[in-house]
Amino acid sequence: MAFKHKHLLGIQDLTSSEITTILDTAESFYEISTREVKKVPTLRGKTIINLFFEPSTRTRSSFELAAKRLSADIVNFNLKTSSAVKGETFKDTILNLEAMNPDAIIIRHSCSGAVLYASTFSRSNIINAGDGSHEHPTQALLDAFTIRQEKKNFKGLKIVIVGDILHSRVARSNIFLLRKMGAKVTLVGPPALLPLEFRKFGVETDFNLDRAVERADVIMMLRIQLERQEKNFFPSVREYRNLYSLTAQRFRRAKKNAIIMHPGPINRGVEISTDMADCAKSVILKQVENGIAVRMAVLYLLLGGKEREAID
């Protein structure tokens, strides 16, 4: 089955069968990273640009390794200044990079919608590596890959997502994906970070983590940005920890086979205690590992499509 999209802008644009295609493709790439020689020639001759307007270690290096393991050439740009600071506009940056004839541009940007905006004037394949509070599709896909590894099936699975839902692109992409795949999502957080209108996404909400944990097959903790405290989204780290941190005591209420996820980077002792982050039920590092296979799949499906059709 050919993958019809030119870009990967968000999970919202994908059908459940397209998501399954990505996950199945990732499955077939997973093993490459465990080989002695971690490289296949699939995307040889392709040029990819990693264009990051926000700091990132995990996502940027994950895309970079994914591209390299497929033999694509990849160039990294880490731009601290966006067009908010005087200088070149985002549009001009992209148009200039595009003059160098890349095949794909992977973009992370602090403004929601910036990646969609780029796709309106760019001729490259655009891949969203996180836009503002909007979407982070490859994170949701690698989360789904990990959940499928652990739980086999999404149907009826109960997923609890905890923390700063309002500002989280990871939460949004996960909500969209998990709903499409038939899982049941409950969001948990304090009211300022979890407006009730989120129920219109087809999810449940709860302000009480102790109660929500009991139902969960998967507990997904989100990083809490400490600067949110300055704007009174919650009163203090102490209060946040007391109410919304995943601790051993809370996790004891969960089902026996519940797993713990976190997109990283984790604030140890804030949204998750160290013993929980490192326990046998935690799949946090598996998520990171799976990120490479999922991003290889995305790059392959977007960039390698034509040759593949010819072979089929």
Partner: protein, 431 residues
């Protein structure tokens, strides 16, 4: 020089007129209105099939001059106004420098007098540099020609300052126009707060940011017995407050823009920066409530909040684009199509809201009416004319208008300012 407008349907809400009459103009004034005035060699315009209305007044325009002439100038803004059917515009003081002193007011008026196609009425700022701290010399500004006061865009947050402004405005028989927004509640928001802001991951401007300040202003205006005009009303909750205040005879009036009537927050799915303005596009429920408030009389005025920006300023990420859209050349066709031709309001109510009421609120004595002695400012409309909005045809310097490509029925055919034709469409019927 005399000018006779023949066979038009004269709609003048101030006198309750709605019938076929001829209008005779001389020396910038209307001198006679009656059926069949004989022309005797005067220049005449055949307005048969057209509506002849008192000249439209847009009381909420940003002309950007002095200081931001790359976006708009007094001349280009006035030309856009004439094409849009307006004979008078009132311009907001957030220029560079701010219109907070006699010098700026006089500059605007002298530029307008020399070169503008329509009447320009400066609105001065309430506080110096729109900082919300010290009141401007309001009496001096009125003497220089200011018609109202507003810190539009940088609304007065300190309630004590607003109270003093209202108290002082009372002795000058002028009006305070407020852009009602609690800047702490709207913070760094870029669109209406609600389901769609959560869906698009954009920071929200809550309805409460408008509602709280509308409520404050009503309370302060009532206490001061002063006139307050609420600019670009956008949320349902604020309508209820105004409706209730009007019942209690508080001197409150309100305006609405076409974009708040006809566009909703869900459209921002495209992240099109031409959908970014402040107040933001609200929910469907709000637009329905606003339309209802137009029909039931709670809202008094149609205004554009014409806010021109350059193409470059708008061709950026949604978060980074400036607030505001261009509106002078689309407002009349939009309202005629969506409200008058769809029979939501009669033509007389439309004219009342875009001419009669703005003239009353701004105390423009000889405007907003068609009677002997009134200024010869007239807008001639063709309710059946079909247009397609094309931003590239704008007389305005800017193109930041979200109605591009809309097909609309009803448009101005001619704008007459002080007895002279300021704009005429190509289908001019001169006899």
């Amino acid at each position: 020089m005399k000018l006779l407008i023949k066979n038009g349907r004269v709609v003048d809400p101030s006198s309750g007129t709605d019938k076929k009459l001829d209008v005779l103009i001389d020396k910038g004034k209307i001198i006679d209105i009656k059926p069949k005035i004989s022309a005797g060699g005067t220049k005449s315009i055949d307005a048969s099939g057209w509506v002849v209305a008192p000249g439209f007044i847009d009381m909420h325009v940003h002309l950007r001059e002095p200081g931001q002439e790359d976006k708009e100038t007094i001349v280009t803004g006035a030309r856009a106004a004439a094409r849009g059917g307006f004979t008078s515009i009132a311009c907001m003081p957030n220029t560079h420098p701010v219109n907070d002193n006699r010098g700026v007011t006089e500059y605007i008026l002298s530029e307008a007098k020399k070169n503008a196609a329509v009447n320009v009425f400066p609105i001065a700022s309430i506080t110096k540099e729109e900082k919300g701290e010290e009141l401007t010399d309001m009496a001096d500004l009125i003497d220089a020609g200011a018609v109202a006061f507003s810190d539009d865009g940088m609304p007065v947050q300190n309630s004590q300052v607003m109270r003093r402004a209202l108290e002082y405005s009372k002795i000058l028989d002028t009006v305070i126009i407020d852009h009602c927004e609690d800047k702490n509640l709207s913070a760094d928001g870029v669109m209406h707060e609600g389901y769609y802001s959560y869906l698009f991951g954009l920071r929200g401007i809550p309805a409460s940011s408008e509602e709280t300040i509308v409520s404050r202003d009503i309370i302060l205006a009532q206490k001061a017995d002063a006139a307050i005009h609420i600019a670009h009303l956008s949320v349902k909750g604020a309508i209820a407050l105004i409706k209730e205040a009007k019942k209690r005879k508080v001197k409150v009036t309100a305006e609405v823009t076409p974009h708040h009537l006809f566009l909703t927050d869900s459209l921002i799915e495209s992240y099109d920066t031409n959908l970014k303005m402040n107040p933001p596009l609200r929910s469907k429920e709000d637009t329905r409530a606003l339309q209802q408030a137009v029909t039931d009389g709670t809202i008094d005025v149609f205004a554009t909040d014409h806010a021109p920006h350059t193409i470059d300023e708008k061709d950026v990420e949604f978060d980074l684009a400036p607030f505001g859209i261009n509106g002078l050349e689309t407002v009349v066709p939009l309202l005629l199509d969506k409200l008058v031709n769809k029979k939501i309001i009669p033509i007389s109510r439309f004219v009342e809201m875009i001419s009669t009421n703005p003239a009353l609120i701004l105390r423009l004595e000889n405007k907003g009416k068609i009677c002997a002695g009134a200024d010869a400012d007239l807008t001639l409309l063709n309710l059946n004319k079909k247009i397609i909005v094309d931003v590239n045809s704008f007389k305005s310097k800017s193109r930041n208008n979200p109605f591009q490509g809309w097909e609309l029925k009803g448009a101005p055919e001619m704008t007459i300012v002080g007895g002279k034709i300021a704009y005429s469409s190509s289908s001019l019927k001169s006899v």
